[in-house]
Amino acid sequence: MPYLRKVLAIVAKDIAAELRTREMLSSMFVFSLLVILIFNFAFDLRADNQAALAPGVLWVAITFAGMLGLSRSFILEKDRGSIEGLLLAPVDRSAIYLGKLLGNVLFIAVVEMIILPIFIILFNLPADALPVLVGVTLLGTLGFAGVGTLFSAMVVHTRAREVLLPVLLFPVVVPVMLSSVKLTAAILDRVPLSEVQNWLSLLVAFDVIFMTLSFMLFDYVLEE
């Protein structure tokens, strides 16, 4: 399938560029680790308040680290002029969106896979919760990166783009944050997922609706 080949070519290009510099992954990892460490030291964590605070801390770390990655996703392309090379190619704009989205999800997921075990250890949380936690984290990341990739392309032509991206993005991804935090708390409290089905449904619905919308709108966003 030529369409999929082009999507994968864009992902592979982003990975190859990142492997050359390791700028984005290292800054995202250091930032998320710092957030977890600072919160861990700042709060006097006792057994009774750990479960209440830990999900919020995890998602603050993921969100801010993800924001670093998202903001660089198109800024690097724009500043170096390579975005025009991409737009000149006979590639459907939606393929560019999917390629950039998959790249963003991959980079955020790599950081998550490293910080999740650290988070479990530092907050003294049950290690057997990790597999389900990984699933919920990836669902949350899909929604966050799905909208974030679109907004990252939107603000790339503006002057205050680094500020504008979080200002625009955070209000839209509130449902993702809320449902992800609630689901994370349920997993750490060993509450069955069936009891938080509504939050899971909200997260899945957000992912599907907003990724579809972003996929359809991306062509217009790239117009100057």
């Binding site: 030529p2 080949r5 082009k6 070519a9 592979a12 290009k13 190859a16 560029a17 050359r20 510099t21 170096r80 002029g81 390579s82 025009e84 090379g85 991409l86 737009l87 000149l88 190619a89 006979p90 590639v91 459907d92 117009e223 100057e224």
Partner: protein, 233 residues
């Protein structure tokens, strides 16, 4: 091969192009000169499908850009004052990436031919950021011709090049086989416009203010026309 009909482009209330009509026949090399802000890059962006006109119609290699932009992009290779390359990737990685986007058959062979033509085969594994500006522009030429496009757009390709590299630009383009294609080039260099182009046009104040075949022109007349049109603005 390139047909621009009554193209208007405005950013908000500010018109940049005010009804441009321009035709470039198959195999012709047309150079477009004009002062800063005349709309040369805006026109190139429209022809290359990077931007849409506010009004008017553009056809490239028979494809109407309003309806067949994707098909038209396959027919166009563009060299700009920006390299449109990825600095962190090697020359080979850049060309392999674009070869996949353009569905180039037997990409390895094509990449080797082009890199040898522009004299960068020996540097194929080096990151683009380690290249001089001239080398980057040679790689940009290879990238633009990777899919063997019949139409080549050169948007001030000499900008940022030192005198020697700018003088060599013609050789690089020639070695890469630009001469047998339809070419539209914008430049500030009147001498280069006259030497390279079969026809020269002057874009000023959002309109084509003058155009003539090279056979009807000499350096003095082109300079006089240019000064008259630009001074009149």
């Amino acid at each position: 091969m390139i047909e621009v009909q009554s193209v208007i482009k405005a950013f908000g209330n500010r018109p940049i192009l005010k009804g441009v009509n321009l035709n470039v026949a198959g195999g012709e090399f047309l150079t477009l000169v004009g002062p800063n802000g005349a709309g040369k890059t805006t026109l190139m962006n429209i022809i290359s499908t990077l931007s849409r006109p506010t009004a008017g119609r553009v056809r490239v290699a028979g494809f109407d850009l309003a309806h067949d932009a994707l098909a038209a992009r396959r027919q166009i290779g563009m060299v700009s004052h920006k390299t449109l390359l990825y600095d962190d990737l090697s020359a080979g990685q850049n060309l392999r990436f674009f070869a996949r986007l353009y569905d180039v058959p037997d990409p390895q062979a094509r990449i080797e031919v082009l890199l040898r033509q522009v004299g960068l085969w020996g540097r194929r594994n080096d990151p683009v950021r380690t290249f001089s500006r001239g080398m980057q522009q040679r790689l940009a030429i290879a990238r633009a011709l990777l899919h063997d496009p019949p139409v080549v757009l050169l948007d001030e390709p000499d900008t940022g090049l030192d005198q020697h590299s700018a003088a060599s630009l013609g050789d690089w383009l020639g070695q890469a086989g630009v001469a047998r294609r339809t070419v539209l080039m914008t430049t500030h260099n009147l001498e280069r416009a006259l030497t390279w182009g079969h026809r020269v046009a002057i874009l000023a104040n959002g309109r084509i203010a003058f155009q003539a075949d090279r056979s009807e022109l000499n350096a003095d007349r082109l300079r006089a026309e240019y000064d008259r049109i630009v001074t009149r603005r």
